[in-house]
């Protein structure tokens, strides 16, 4: 290959490189303009005029960059300039190449040595290096800006810019636009932590979603002039996929959002749903306890946790108070965090080693379980169980605390167990007895069951006596009542010689008694003896006289339901003459009723939907009105309204 042919090939490659580089830089500059516009639009919001200039600016930037690169590379058109460019990079040639490519000055036959020198140069290497340098920078800039645009997502912006430009270039004033709010839709994207899917609603009058949900309302037509207002905010529409779009976040309290397009408007009730805090139920220890002596060993803590969305972690909290009278020292101990893996329902279990707690008479141990959910928008939600209080009685408590005597549950359990065994034997050996004999034995067992039932009732009375004339149910008495009910049924079945039917109940009874027996606890029952004041002796003997200031009477309570009813009545009058205005009013009434009268809010939604469809609404309004009334009073029977008893 002659030097001329080699330089010609290099020229072709260099020309190609210039063209490709021009295209690359053109595209890169265009992306830079779009990216910059997207950033400014996000931060400051671009005016319609600025939007209209985006596309021309982008095209101009692309063309400018491409032309500049082509101009810089124009030397590639000349073979001599290419040869000189190579000589510049290989000074050792001493113009041999430039001379050798001209057949008239240095024909190959006469200047063989010159051609040999020119032929030794590695033109390919020089061109390759130049190619890599020129394209490398362009490709790098292209990739960086391309990645930035992927993040910025300027598709909506460009769409809006195209519409804005079309408006500016139009020779004639745009045709009158239809209502751009017609056919609008709402896309609701719940917060990520909720793991709920996004939903799209068509022309909603009400959007119910978790607080913090991203809501995008969009419709057809240009965004200019479309706005959204609510009690605490105002937003101008931006260009969206379909035309205009308004994005907002679900607020913490219910509100009415109004979309405006010139004289058109559309009301949308925003109904925030609160993420419930975790519900934590302490299962063990079953109830509060007062130990007569310092307890030893281990006790189990167990709690059930539920959450509407997902649980993050939980732990057991212990609070140990030691001391007496006015001097107490309290230590708060949090157990290890237990990861709950976003479960909606789970159980936490822990063991407390009482031996390590250094309990002493007078110590009080409070135990509760705390759970947190995954809410990273308004939370995290915190759920707390009931607190169980384990006390160690002091010797002096005997003056103020009347510890209940040990419950006679043990003996009751033994009696029941024996009765169960005997009944079981009777069932198995039924064929050995004559009928009368069998009935007699079963009847005897029935009496024994009744005896146990009476003993259980006595224990319940003891447990539920609060010492000052009242009574209250305890966890144990509640369980014991359950057993008493079963005892009654078992007694009845035994009494009619049906021990087979009685047996399942008797097994349940034994199980309940066993549970209570194993608890083996005593209950704090305060019995302070208050001192009586001699009222007659001290009446009005005080030396200080009162200087009574004005005592204002209690304010009359505002009847929220009555006010709501009056508003509903006004809407009912409006529904036939101006259904659209009535529907709008109902949206406002519904939002205010969401917190005070949820039942009414539910009924009103139906009425709003009917009004918007042009359907009769009287029944729906009457239903809402009825939800405001107090529930009907049940009469005891005919005597109450029927007058005189016969």
């Amino acid at each position: 290959m002659t030097p001329r042919e080699r330089v010609r090939r290099a020229q072709q490659k260099l020309a190609g490189t210039v063209v490709i580089t021009a295209l690359l830089w053109g595209a890169t500059l265009a992306m830079a303009v779009v990216g910059l516009a997207a950033v400014v639009d996000d931060l400051l919001g671009l005016s319609p005029l600025a939007r209209a200039t985006i596309i021309p600016l982008t095209v101009a930037a692309a063309l400018g960059a491409a032309v500049a690169v082509l101009w810089r590379g124009r030397a590639a058109r000349s073979l001599d300039r290419v040869a000189l460019w190579i000589e510049e990079r290989e000074p050792g040639l001493r113009y041999a190449l430039v001379t050798a490519i001209d057949p008239q000055i240095a024909p190959a036959a006469e200047h063989a040595e010159l051609h040999a020198i020119a032929g030794r140069v590695d033109v390919e290497r020089i061109v390759r290096r130049a190619w890599g340098r020129a394209l490398g920078r362009g490709v790098l800039a292209f990739v960086v800006l391309g990645a930035a645009l992927v993040v910025l997502q300027p598709r909506d912006l460009l769409h809006g810019a195209g519409i804005a430009l079309a408006h500016r270039l139009g020779d004639h004033p745009p045709a009158p636009m239809a209502n751009r709010l017609a056919g609008f839709s709402a896309r609701v994207v719940p917060p990520k932590y909720s793991r709920l899917p996004a939903t799209t609603l068509r022309e909603p009058s009400d959007i119910a979603a978790l607080i913090g949900s991203a809501i995008t309302l969009d419709g057809k037509g240009p965004p200019d002039g479309v706005t959204a207002t609510w009690d605490s905010g105002h937003l101008a529409a931006r260009a969206g996929e379909r035309g205009w779009a308004v994005g907002l976040t679900m607020p913490k309290s219910a509100t009415v959002l109004t979309l405006h397009d010139r004289a058109y408007k559309q009301l949308v009730a925003l109904e925030p749903r609160t993420d419930s805090a975790p519900d934590v139920r302490l299962r063990l220890p079953l109830h509060d306890t007062t130990y007569q002596t310092v307890p030893k060993g281990k006790i189990q803590v167990e709690a059930g946790l539920t959450d509407d969305i997902g649980l993050d972690y939980g732990y057991v909290e212990y609070m140990l108070s030691t001391g007496a009278e006015e001097s107490f020292d309290t230590k708060l101990i949090n157990g290890p965090r237990i990861a709950l893996g976003n479960a909606r329902e789970t159980t936490i279990r822990a063991t407390i080693d009482l031996d390590t707690m250094k309990l002493s008479p007078g110590s009080v141990l409070h135990i509760r379980v705390i759970g947190y959910d995954y809410n990273d928008v308004t939370g995290p939600g915190r759920g707390v169980s009931e607190t169980r209080t384990l006390k160690v009685a002091e010797p002096v408590d005997s003056t103020s605390i009347n510890a209940a005597p040990p419950l006679p549950i043990d003996s009751m359990w033994i009696s029941q167990r024996l009765l169960n065994m005997r009944t079981d034997t009777l069932i198995r050996t039924k064929r050995q007895y004559k009928h009368e004999e069998f009935v007699h034995k079963s009847s005897g067992y029935s009496n024994a069951q009744e005896d146990i039932r009476k003993r259980a009732l006595a224990v319940i009375a003891l447990l539920e006596d609060n010492g000052v004339g009242g009574s209250f149910e305890t966890e144990v008495s509640k369980k014991l009542r359950e057993a008493v009910d079963l005892m009654w049924t078992a007694r009845e079945d035994l009494g009619v010689a049906q021990p087979d039917s009685a047996m399942p109940y008797m097994k349940k009874i034994l199980k309940i008694l066993d549970e209570i027996r194993l608890a083996n606890r005593y209950y704090l029952r305060g019995l302070l003896k208050p001192v009586a004041v001699n009222i007659e002796r001290v009446r009005l003997t005080g030396k200080d006289s009162a200087n009574v200031g004005a005592r204002s009477p209690r304010d009359e309570l505002r009847d929220a339901n009555r006010a709501l009813a009056a508003r509903l009545d006004a809407v009912a009058a409006l529904a036939h003459t101006a259904p659209s205005a009535a529907a709008d009013s109902l949206v406002y009434i519904r939002v205010s009723a969401l917190s005070t009268a949820p039942a009414v809010a539910g009924a009103l939604q139906h009425a709003i939907d009917l009004l918007r469809k042009g359907a009769p609404v009287d029944t729906a309004l009457a239903r809402a009105r009825r939800a405001l009334e107090p529930p009907p009073r049940m009469l005891g029977g005919p005597a109450e309204w029927g007058g005189v008893l016969p």
Partner: protein, 203 residues
């Protein structure tokens, strides 16, 4: 009109019985300064039962953590919202103590943040007039507990009426004495108790 009965709250978690003579001293003051038909003996009422709704005013005190059970919480919330007046007094007179922390947590859980009662609130002038707000106690002046003079009481206001008062002043210590002792006192410290009861009965 039925007789006013002074009620002390009995709750599961703590030492509700820590001021046993307080009812006697306050009942004595009510009889001494007013014509209110007051029962000579107070009662202890389990706040987990509906019995609390029989009493317009309930005193609750203690040193140990105040952690309501679900039933207690439900009842107390209803009691306050339905027109009762619950006085919760920190017997530790210590805002760093467990009673203060746990009681405030419980109150906030039920009613949200409490309101500070201004010194010119009706409760300070509905019978005796206390120009400087809640009267101080010897326990505050002598620097016990948190060594602070608490100038205000906190409250839960329901429909313009005080439904719950929280005190760090330790009236439970100040008023925990036999009524007969008053004859040796220059000032009757329980007069503010009369205001509390008059407010509870008239508002």
């Amino acid at each position: 009109m039925s007789q006013f009965v002074f009620a002390t709250a009995r709750y599961a978690s703590g030492d509700w019985e820590s001021a046993p003579s307080l009812p006697e001293a306050v009942i004595d003051a009510v009889a001494r300064y007013t014509t209110i038909d007051v029962a000579p003996v107070g009662v202890y009422v389990d706040i987990s039962t509906h019995e609390i709704f029989n009493y317009p005013f309930i005193w609750l005190t203690g040193h140990l953590p105040l952690r309501f059970t679900d039933a207690e919480r439900r009842n107390v919330k209803q009691y306050v919202e339905r027109g009762g007046l619950l006085m919760i007094d920190d017997h530790n007179h210590d805002i760093t103590g467990v009673f203060h922390k746990t009681a405030n947590e419980e109150i906030e859980r039920m009613f949200g943040k409490m309101t500070r009662l201004p010194k010119d609130h009706e409760i300070y002038k509905c019978f005796f007039v206390f120009d400087d707000g809640p009267p101080n106690t010897h326990h505050e002046l002598n620097g016990y507990g948190d060594d602070l003079l608490h100038k205000y009481l906190d409250a839960v206001i329901v429909n313009g009426r005080v439904g719950l008062i929280y005190s760090s002043k330790d009236y439970s210590s100040e008023w925990n004495f036999h009524a007969d002792t008053k004859k040796f006192m220059q000032q009757d410290p329980t007069k503010f108790g009369v205001n509390l009861i008059v407010y509870a009965l008239t508002r």
